[in-house]
């Protein structure tokens, strides 16, 4: 266990890094905060207040490590309904009440509430929220503000709006629409461009910078007014003094009404679901693999929501996209959340008047993209591969949410799921008789591994008992889950168990699921079966030109070639490069017979949700025959100097000044690394092309650009690797 002193030292050491990460997150949080608040028809500053209050309170009292809190996407729909039915001040009261309920839930240890919702229903609900956001903001993005009754009506009006845009006569509106389309293009294409300087500033901030620049260009150089119609600019943002003096006083008049409490329930429900899903997803990204204290976090979020409500802000939730940006930029503890809040305060202090130069249509483009990501067709396709019945659940939740409301939607999803389960098993009794039974048995076997046996059935209704048992096992252990006494296992359980498998695997343990084939063999339980199917899709026979060329290269270098996708890339997991990245699969593998060298194309993703970037690149892996220290070697550039400022240390050699200047070398054990980098090795690096080179003690990973390499580049890569290995073996 770490001592208190060393943890303090570690905290101080990582402080600059967290400050840097907090800065980057605040850059994305500012435009998102403004946008989310405006989409919910609250004053734009409300979103920023939410992020500030959330960042400060949750960073101090929360139980998670690398999450960022602020205004959430999911809540837009609910807050919108609340504001239209209750009015703004009563909505603040509802927000305060939902915060209090969250605190109570935290104390009652009901953070697990979200486990009781089937995953397809949650997917459906999130998709519906996405469509609500997209449907409403799409019109504003194109400079065509309209008012409709329900979410569906807004969606149906989209074609009309597109037609209207081409008939615009008003120049102000045309410019507004252009700003919107351009911003949407930035959001879409940003993740496709891999440039480390461009990527330093998140896409939403680029939109802000470009639109503020555009406005200044007109004002200072063309000396004319901003051509975008004033209706489509962000309304005046009060400065900090006005914000403080004009804190809205909550209005308790509506407390007796039903609509007030249904708003409170919806706010609480969505806030807790969104937070819990995000915390779970962010925990998976955490480099240090820590486990968040969910109930403590819920309490902190609840308190933050109460304070935020009193100050004129919205519900504070844990947000996935911003948290993933935090992890990717080196955030390692809660201080980055605090810094994100402090930077936001700074922005409001310094630039609150500049923010009115941002066109509303540009801001709404960010939200349209967010909405699209929530309801993307990819999600529907994925659900379809799991099973058609999941689509029924998904769409019944989605449609009811759009037509009636969030709570009805989620209830519809629950009912649909239960009915489908009953139909599939042809038995209501199985569920009713056994729902309250403690159906999970866990014990430690003599060899130290854990055995879990599940009886009767396991579905979203009682997954919690299984979850509690899984949570109580230290993740470095081996676990066997036996479903053979189970009559039915549903998709939500399979998905969650899969997540636990991933988690245990990351921390050095292993979960094995047995007994499902029994279910399959009787062909009574298609849920479990279908879940197991889609993984290794065999590549079609018709190879691409590149693949044909690769097999020629394989012959030339005397290697074997395998184009098929593989999902197990365990040998890559210890590399620092992949700590914050999720490997999807490797393919087009060239392998030496004794498997010392292997080059492959790899698909991995970085970040989550709107900050998600899928990258395909080519790498070379060399298994070294002797023990070498772990290190990372990069070309030294502006970014690396910046990193060095933020607390990453560069190991320099006095005797090789040229090498030290041109290369950025780091690792845990500088002494060992210095001893390993002999003059011969240094000369080798100096006289050869730059590559990103990383060692994990057992192997070396070499890659260049973050894209698939050409045949010529692969040859170069192989040649470089072979020669490097020789040099290493000689030293």
């Amino acid at each position: 266990m770490r001592t208190k002193k060393s943890s303090v030292v570690g905290f101080v050491k990582t402080l600059p890094q967290n400050m840097f990460s907090g800065l980057v997150v605040s850059l994305i949080a500012l435009p998102l905060g403004l946008g989310l608040a405006m989409a919910s028809e609250a004053p734009p500053i409300a979103g920023v207040i939410t992020a500030i209050v959330g960042g400060i309170i949750v960073s101090i009292l929360g139980g998670s490590f690398v999450t960022i809190s602020g205004p959430g996407n999911g809540l837009v729909g609910v807050v919108l309904v609340a504001i239209t039915t209750l009015g703004l001040t009563a909505t603040y009261t509802a927000i305060i009440c939902s915060g209090i309920i969250l605190i109570i839930l935290g104390f009652l240890r009901l953070g697990k509430l979200a486990d009781y919702f089937p995953s397809s229903a949650i997917q459906g609900m999130l998709a519906a929220i996405g469509l609500i956001i997209l449907g409403k903001q799409f019109h504003i993005m194109l400079g065509n503000k309209i008012v409709q009754d329900s979410g569906i009506d807004y969606l149906l009006e989209i074609p009309n709006t597109i037609i209207t845009v081409f008939q615009f006569k008003d120049k102000g509106l045309i410019y507004a629409a252009l700003a919107g389309v351009l911003s949407l293009a930035i959001m879409v294409f940003y993740s496709k461009i891999r440039n480390k300087y461009l990527q330093l500033i998140p896409a939403p901030m680029w939109i802000v910078i470009i639109s503020v620049g555009f406005s200044y260009y007109y004002e200072l150089i063309l000396k004319s007014a901003n051509p975008i119609s004033l209706d489509y600019m962000i309304p005046a943002i009060p400065d900090i003094r006005t914000i403080v003096t004009e804190i809205p006083s909550p209005d308790f008049k509506m407390v007796g009404t039903l609509s007030f409490w249904s708003s409170v329930v919806a706010l609480t429900l969505i806030a807790s679901i969104e937070s819990l899903l995000s915390i779970k997803a962010v925990d998976k990204l955490d480099v240090d693999k820590r486990r968040s204290n969910v109930n403590k976090d819920i309490k902190a979020l609840g308190l933050a929501t109460v304070v935020s409500g009193f100050l004129g802000g919205l519900n504070v939730v844990t947000v996935i996209a911003r948290s993933s940006v935090n992890v990717n930029n080196g955030g390692s503890n809660r201080s980055s959340n605090l810094f994100h809040a402090l930077f936001l305060v700074l922005f409001i202090l310094l630039f609150s008047s500049e923010l009115t130069r941002i066109p509303l249509s540009a801001l709404m483009a960010i939200l349209v993209y967010t909405g699209y990501k929530l309801a993307s067709p990819v999600i529907v396709r994925e659900i379809f591969t799991i099973g058609k019945e999941q689509l029924i659940i998904f769409f019944s939740t989605l449609l009811v949410t759009l037509k009636v409301g969030l709570i009805s939607g989620i209830v519809a999803g629950l009912i649909a799921t239960f009915i489908i389960h009953v139909v599939v098993t042809k038995s209501v009794g199985l569920f009713i008789k056994n729902i309250l039974k403690p159906n999970v048995l866990m014990y430690k076997e003599e060899d130290g591994s854990y055995f879990i046996s599940v009886k009767h059935f396991c579905s979203f209704l009682n997954f919690n008992t299984l979850k509690t048992n899984l949570e109580a096992i230290p993740e470095k252990n081996d676990v066997i889950i036996d479903f053979s006494l189970c009559g039915f296992v549903d998709h939500s359980v399979m998905e969650n168990v899969d997540e636990y498998q991933e988690l245990f695997h990351k921390k050095g343990g292993n979960i094995e699921v047995i007994g499902l084939d029994v279910l399959g063999a009787k062909s009574k339980h298609p849920f479990a079966l279908r879940r197991l199917l889609p993984l290794h899709k065999i590549l079609p026979d018709n190879k691409t030109k590149r693949q044909n060329n690769l097999s020629i290269v394989a012959d030339n270098f005397n290697l074997s070639y395998n184009p098929i996708k593989k999902s197990n890339a365990e040998f890559l997991e210890n590399f620092i490069y992949f700590k914050t990245k999720k490997i999807e699969h490797t393919f087009n593998e060239l392998k030496e017979k004794n498997s010392q060298y292997q080059s492959f194309d790899i698909t991995f993703s970085e970040g989550e949700f709107i900050a998600k970037e899928v990258v395909r690149t080519t790498m070379l892996y060399i298994k070294v025959s002797k023990k070498i220290p772990a290190f990372t070697l990069d070309k030294e550039g502006l970014m690396e100097r910046l990193y060095a400022l933020a607390g990453y240390e560069d190991i320099d050699f006095d005797s090789h000044i040229d090498f030290s200047n041109r290369f950025y070398l780091r690792g845990e054990n500088p002494e060992e690394i210095k001893a390993f980098f002999t003059s011969e090795l240094v000369r080798f690096f100096e006289s050869n092309p730059y590559y990103h080179i990383e060692s994990n003690k057992e192997g070396i990973l070499i890659c260049n650009k973050e894209r698939i390499a050409s045949i010529k580049e692969i040859k170069g890569l192989l040649d470089f690797g072979v020669r490097l290995n020789k040099v290493i073996n000689n030293t």
Binding site: Y443, K444, A472, P474
Partner: protein, 282 residues
């Protein structure tokens, strides 16, 4: 400690398809334990009935079985319980019913009532058969309870007599005893330590109980002690099922109130989902 023996074994018999299997099982057990067998039939006595019973019993008579058949009309529960007392039956055998899908077993309402009210030990048979099926693995509870010592001793007695080769003593540790709730890494470490400590404590306790068992009973039997964390009474049944035990030996419940039936616990769980043959030691 009193010497453990079943002097008289009782079984309620009715004319069901299982009749022969039930009688065979009871007679075999009586021979193994060297006990007298009392057949209790609820109903009027008649020559025809008696002949039928005797027909099944005669093969065992040659092996030296001492038996008696009683007839008495009335309420089945009352009759069986009163006859058990009269005849000083100390082990009552009850056959369970199979569910349609042939996987699950349950007790009929009469059998349940008898089980709750009986003052002697009870053996619930889920799968009576005409031929002998060997009993290899016995699971016995190791609860912290004054009755446990005798229950464990009985398990060894039965195991010895039936030639079992493995006995597992299961200590059920309820979640309430693990006072630490798992929230994060720190509390997980703490709860793991607490559990380990409880495990050691329980194993020590079981060891002391085992040391009181006479050596002749433990001969040739592999002994295992297995702590499990879970709901008392329920988890042990689940364990017996997972471990493919042939017989589960349990303490008789201390008292049964109305509430116990409404919120089933301990033995009641076992009665609703018979995992295997169950011996309840009074």
């Amino acid at each position: 400690m009193r010497t453990i023996a079943f002097k008289t074994i009782g079984i309620g018999v009715a004319f069901s398809p299982n009749l022969e299997a039930n009688i065979n099982e009871a007679a075999r057990l009586a021979l193994f334990f060297g006990s007298r067998l009392v057949l209790i039939h609820v109903g009027e006595s008649s020559e025809e009935k008696l002949n039928k019973f005797l027909g099944f019993l005669n093969p065992f008579k040659d092996l030296g079985l001492d038996f008696e058949v009683t007839f008495k009309s009335g309420d089945p529960v009352e009759v069986i319980l009163s006859t058990t007392n009269e005849k000083k039956v100390d082990l009552l055998i009850i056959g369970a019913l199979k569910k349609e899908n042939f996987v699950k077993y349950y007790l009929g309402s009469i059998a349940r009532k008898i089980t709750r009210k009986a003052t002697c030990s009870i053996l619930l048979l889920i799968n009576p058969s005409k031929e002998r099926v060997s009993c290899n693995h016995i699971v016995v509870n190791g609860l912290k309870d004054p009755k446990t010592e005798e229950t464990v001793a009985t398990a060894f007695f039965v195991g010895h007599k039936l030639g079992a080769n493995k006995i597992t003593v299961v200590e059920e540790i309820s979640d309430e005893e693990v006072s630490v709730k798992v929230d994060d890494d720190k509390s997980l470490r703490k709860s793991t330590i607490v559990k380990e400590r409880l495990r050691l404590r329980e194993e020590m306790r079981v060891k002391t109980i085992l040391s009181t068992i006479p050596g002749e009973l433990t001969k040739n039997i592999k002994i295992k002690s297995q702590p499990i964390f879970g709901k008392r009474g329920y988890s042990i049944g689940h364990y017996a099922q997972v471990a493919r035990a042939d017989l589960l030996v349990m303490n008789a419940p201390s008292k049964m109130t109305f509430w116990d039936r409404l919120f089933p616990h301990d033995i009641e769980h076992i009665l609703t989902e018979l995992p295997t043959d169950v011996l309840i030691v009074q």
